[in-house]
């Protein structure tokens, strides 16, 4: 579904992602784990086209999207939930969701979105900026889902969110995988969350993949060791 080959990303002269190769299959959930500053967010930003890649290829469902603009990539089926949510603070919850519907040409917010996130329906006419962190996270996911993505990118969805809501978000993602054909790539530092949602776990360190496990034989101790500072 998503194939990335020899991806290199730099900030000015300093290269941060050093030629990553990976592929994610249809309906697979891949978790990318790593400490702060190891290149998770940089990788995600280059996948959605916010940061340009200096080398390599990104391919979504057979379409080469390398060096295209963000909105083109969204049209080709990739959706992005950024670290820190980045919802539109002065738009209402409903309007926030509707911004994602330019691509999918939906006229009305689909019922299944509000079914997944009942709290957003309750708060639909409030300003996005006045929601709590957990609610904003749900809003950011809803906004990404209405683009009808084939690949959903979630950058640290649990950051700054209380444990009970983290569980809710894991449940939503698992529910989503049952409802739709969707490939999910999530970057994380919380191992319990990752184990609840991911089919495969990759550890990134200094812009390179150093460890890979499938869900059934996750070596928690090894991954913990990589994540500890």
């Amino acid at each position: 579904m998503l194939t990335v080959s020899n991806l290199k990303v730099s900030y000015g002269q300093s290269e941060v992602i050093h030629g990553l190769d990976f592929a994610v299959a249809k309906n697979e959930t891949l978790a990318i784990m790593g400490r702060n500053g190891m290149g998770k967010t940089t990788l995600f930003k280059s996948l959605i086209g916010i940061l340009p890649s200096t080398e390599g290829n990104i391919n979504i469902d057979g379409v080469d999207v390398t060096n295209t603009e963000s909105y083109r990539r969204v049209e080709n089926g990739i959706a992005y939930v950024p670290q820190g949510r980045m919802i539109f603070p002065t738009l209402t919850v409903q309007e926030n969701i509707e911004t994602g519907m330019e691509v999918s040409k939906l006229k009305k917010i689909p019922d299944d979105i509000y079914a997944l996130f009942p709290v957003l329906h309750e708060m639909r006419s409030r300003k996005g900026g006045n929601l709590s962190g957990g609610q904003q996270q749900q809003l950011a996911i809803a906004r990404a889902l209405v683009t009808n993505p084939k690949v959903l990118l979630l950058d640290e969805p649990t950051e700054g969110i209380q444990p009970s809501i983290i569980k809710d978000i894991a449940n939503v993602l698992n529910e989503l995988k049952k409802l739709r054909d969707i490939t999910i790539i999530v970057s994380e530092q919380v191992l319990s969350f990752t184990q609840a949602v991911a089919d495969r776990i990759i550890v990134i360190d200094k812009g390179e993949f150093i460890h890979e496990d499938t869900k059934d034989n996750v070596n928690t101790d090894v991954i913990r060791k990589y994540l500890s500072v």
Binding site: I48, A79, P82, L91, E95, E98, G100, G129, R143
Partner: protein, 307 residues
């Protein structure tokens, strides 16, 4: 003020107040265009006044054409002139964005310089095409004359017309911004351009149409302007400063603030002008403005949310 009786003072207030409303209308139309362009792409369009002049000259040109070839249509041409002024200024704005401004989005100071250069080019073009003398279109009969509610109050009809026109355009802009999908895209891009792209909005296309719309509204302001004053090559630059004042005072992101601040500034100036000289009126207005902005640097109406 001792030499005026109370009823005379009342009439003066009403009439000057109404003269202020004409100024308010033009300022508001100008500021609307400027504010949506600034809000959308952070470009301060120094040539905005010249786009207003484009609207005014278009109206003048059409009036000359109609007088020469279709004199029977004189009573109606003005309505078409407004629409055509909008279109001409809008298309020119679209071209300016396409040819010039879109290359400079990452260099905001350069857009200031570039649009200023554009304004000089446009001023000289007006001078070359229409001459340096001020021109006025022949207004249709129904715009002349005045309405006299009492013996001492004279309210010019063109002022009423301009006010109604401004109301319609303002409502139209409100509707577009808050009810249409284009408006949603604009408001999203205004808040977070990068993220708007990442939810699938083609921000560059939104920019181009927003710039065109802002310039088009300036064109309408120009058409309205011809009913209250004559147009010269430098007309636009005279109004641009006041327009900036309106936008800053109202809070750049708030349409409602723009309306209130246009009203306040226009009325203060117009009413003060009757009692003291025009330039002193301006001094007092600016002074009050500076004081208020010291305490409310974000303008009168800044939207309050967690960020």
């Amino acid at each position: 003020m001792g030499e005026y009786t109370y009823s005379e003072l009342g009439s003066i207030l009403a009439m000057q107040g109404f003269a202020g409303i004409s100024l308010f209308s033009v300022l508001l139309l100008m500021a609307l265009g400027l504010a949506i362009i600034f809000g959308q792409m952070g470009v301060i369009n120094m040539a905005h006044g010249e786009f207003m002049a484009v609207g005014a000259y278009t109206t003048y040109f059409l009036s000359v054409l109609t007088e020469q070839y279709l004199p029977s249509l004189m009573p109606y041409y003005f309505i078409f002139a407004i629409v055509i002024a909008f279109l001409v200024a809008g298309v020119l704005g679209y071209l300016a964005e396409f040819a010039l401004i879109r290359h400079l989005y990452k260099r905001p100071l350069d857009t200031l310089l570039a649009t200023w250069g554009l304004s000089l080019i446009m001023q000289q073009s007006f001078r070359s095409i229409f001459g340096a003398r001020e021109v006025s279109p022949t207004l249709p009969e129904w715009l002349l004359g005045s309405y006299q509610p009492t013996e001492t109050i004279d309210i010019p009809l063109n002022g009423i017309f301009v006010l109604v026109l401004t109301g319609v355009v303002t409502l139209g802009v409100f509707y577009l911004l808050y009810k249409s999908s284009w408006g949603l895209r604009v408001r999203a891009t205004t808040q977070n351009r990068v993220m708007s792209g990442a939810v699938g909005i083609n921000t560059k296309k939104v920019d181009r149409y927003t710039f065109a719309l802002g310039c088009g509204i300036a064109g309408i302001a120009g058409a309205a302007f011809t009913t209250i004053a004559s147009t010269g090559p430098t007309t636009g630059s005279l109004y641009i400063v006041d327009t900036f004042m309106v936008v800053v005072f109202g809070g750049a992101a708030s349409l409602f603030g723009t309306i209130v601040s246009a009203f306040t500034i226009a009325q203060t100036q117009s009413i003060l002008e009757f009692f003291i000289s025009g330039s002193m009126a301006k001094v007092y207005t600016l002074f009050a403005l500076v004081l208020i902005l010291m305490f409310k640097p974000e303008g009168l109406f800044a939207s309050k949310v967690r960020r």
